[in-house]
């Protein structure tokens, strides 16, 4: 019983730590969009190109957060069952 609780607790802590990875993309995307607005303000004719590049850049940046999120989900739902099954 105690081992089960320790495994579940450690998995939850690990999942929480993995979600720290979700903070960075939010800040990075915001910064990139801010700079893109500045660029469009300087050169309004390049709006299409800037939007397209920024869109792909934001998607790439966001993947880091998704990786962390997937690790957190695996720690929450998959790993505890694997270890508890071995007890």
């Amino acid at each position: 019983m105690l081992e089960k609780a320790i495994i579940l607790g450690c998995s939850a802590i690990g999942a929480g730590l993995a979600m720290i990875a979700g903070i960075g993309p939010g800040i990075g995307e915001g910064y990139a969009v801010g700079k893109a607005c500045e660029a469009i303000g300087r050169q309004p004719e390049s709006k299409g190109d800037v939007t397209s590049t920024m869109l792909l850049g934001c998607a790439v940046a966001e993947t880091t957060g998704i990786y962390g999120f997937i690790v957190a989900l695996l720690l929450m739902f998959v790993t505890p069952n694997m270890f508890i099954g071995k007890l």
């Binding site: 993309p25 915001g30 969009v33 190109d49 800037v50 939007t51 993947t63 999120f69 989900l73």
Partner: protein, 136 residues
């Protein structure tokens, strides 16, 4: 709000890439003998959300690009990111909790847009970048 041509074009590229990679993933499931209805439903849910997430990002980026105040654009994209992550959490939990979805088939397509962008980068002709930098 009118959706810009850039967003439509990139979403189309991503949708094609995600569809192709999902087909590869399903083939791998089939080769390993793990193919069943839950894998198909899971792949549909995962890849569908991956494309929808990119499309929503595109709409937000388009809206933010039209804003004059830098701070407002920043807040909008951060708010959108939070909401999309929350929706992703909902989709992933559905995939894990409901037995009609295979959890791996839901989770794996979430990283397909990144792989597609990587492949698009390899495919892009080198001359185009040089032209853009020269301004010609």
């Amino acid at each position: 709000m009118k959706i810009s041509a850039a967003v439509k074009k990139e979403t189309g590229h991503i949708a094609l890439g995600v569809a192709a990679l999902t087909a590869v993933m399903l083939a791998i499931f089939w080769i390993f003998g793990a193919m069943d209805a839950s894998v198909l439903w899971g792949a549909l849910l995962g890849s569908g959300y991956a494309v929808l997430n990119f499309f929503l990002l595109g709409i937000t980026v388009q809206k933010a690009a039209g804003m004059e105040k830098e701070g407002k654009a920043k807040s909008l994209i951060q708010f959108s990111y939070s909401l999309r992550m929350l929706a992703l959490f909902g989709v992933a939990v559905l995939g894990f909790v409901l037995s009609c979805f295979h959890w791996a088939a839901v989770i794996i397509p979430m990283i397909f847009p990144r792989v597609t962008i990587l492949m698009m980068g390899f495919r892009k002709p080198k001359g185009k970048e040089g032209k853009a930098e020269d301004g010609t």
